[in-house]
Symmetry: C2
Subunit: 310 residues, 2 copies
Amino acid sequence: MKIKTTSAFAPASIGNVSVGFDCLGLALEHPGDIVSIEVGNKPGAELIDLQGDKGELPIETEKNVVGVVVQSMLDALKRDDALAIRLLKGLPLQSGMGSSASSSVAAAVAANEFLGKPFTKRELIPFAMEGEELACGAPHVDNVAPALLGGITLIPSHDPLEIISLPYPKNLYCAVVHPDVAVATRDARAVLPESLPRSISVKQSAHLAAFVHALHTNDWELISRSMIDLIAEPKRKDLIPHFNAVKSAALEAGALACGISGSGPTIFALCKGKTSAEEVVVEMGKIYADHEIGNEIYVSKINSKGTQLI
Amino acid sequence: MKIKTTSAFAPASIGNVSVGFDCLGLALEHPGDIVSIEVGNKPGAELIDLQGDKGELPIETEKNVVGVVVQSMLDALKRDDALAIRLLKGLPLQSGMGSSASSSVAAAVAANEFLGKPFTKRELIPFAMEGEELACGAPHVDNVAPALLGGITLIPSHDPLEIISLPYPKNLYCAVVHPDVAVATRDARAVLPESLPRSISVKQSAHLAAFVHALHTNDWELISRSMIDLIAEPKRKDLIPHFNAVKSAALEAGALACGISGSGPTIFALCKGKTSAEEVVVEMGKIYADHEIGNEIYVSKINSKGTQLI
């Protein structure tokens, strides 16, 4: 008898995208996490296999985001199917690339398929957010939404939850460097200012509005000019070694803009076209190589599909 | 001999438009100010006639915004043409409808035509802003830009000055009520919070971004949902008698959204279509009539042309 298995790949995502602190996110094509669901031996969710995390994530079902997400789906459906979960981490942990969101979303999509699609894709968001809450201490949606839906997403409201998929130029690429240094999401939030001068708040919001306009009009120069971060970057950049040098290198190599991915330490740059992104990412990685800091580099188009069954 | 005269009509404008404090504005079709320029008797700008201000504006050239604007244009050109200025105020003073911006912009456009068009329309903005600075104590562009250019304008940056003309549904109308109560711009600014909680700042900016997306996609419901003001309205509404009642009446009568025009006391509502705006404005005006407060009501499409020679 063939054992029924459903698997889903959920991509990395970039939260904030510099100009949209806590309300904007975009999906990369890779790296990503894979979650597989198969028939288990006992009722409920059970995490039976965990790979690629270098032993750093909990294997206990109730402490791992994928276990929490799948169990919460079963609870909502009042079902007690036996679901065995396998998680293959492709994303580096605590990288600021939406690692826990990726696992949560992959788990939700794989389990939903296994259970006969009781939920639409958007209806999976609250379950994925339970995973995020376990991992980050807060129900974050700015990584969950793009990882699930793909593209660039704007979240104007959490209650009720509203997600807007923004348009973007087809040729928009990301150059991404993840240095092997640890910045915990909790630490990265601790340095944020609790309040902002009114003038800064106005500037930041006007730039986000200009960015949305630029996406609608394919205005590359305005994308570049509007990508400022007056909220998180001034505080968080000190947590990331050589941030200024990497940003300068990216811009000099032709990036449209460069900033911190989510809470860091990953740094991303937006680029016009694949060739530009490839040139940019080399220069970004070189800064860390010169300082003998291990790093991974990625070049990716904006992921238009989000999480996919595989 | 026919005396050469150039005249320009500049419309009222709504600053902030609720969701875009200090960075968003839109132009109405009426009311507006008219400025005429003719040959004067002595070198430089001279205000020779002032009507419609109920005696409240200074007639001295150097104290009136139109005199300041025209003289600054002559200074920039290093010319000493004799320019006599006539100002006909159609806009109520200190109404929050961009009264000084309207005068400033009409003066700039009329004088520019008289002088042989040395400046483009956008190049007139710095001169018009000198008028605004005289009137408001700060160089405001969120009324100047829409009054001059028409439409809905977003100002993401003041230095360098950047003005974005946003698209909007053709059928977007404004219902406007100006109650005969005085709110000075300076007083209205004094009640504003100097700083904002980060969470409020994030919400406000995400709503502005959603509003821009809604304008691009003709999404009436999203226009309605995104038009929130967490910065000025909570503080300024107490300066405007019966604000809550007027807002409730507008929304009950079918307005998409309702808020304070600029620094008030004028209250505006966005409406889908002329008929809706006419129904809404009657209900708004009725609140003031019921309380025996004099008021003027206006219904206007978004003005697509801005300031025009007449």
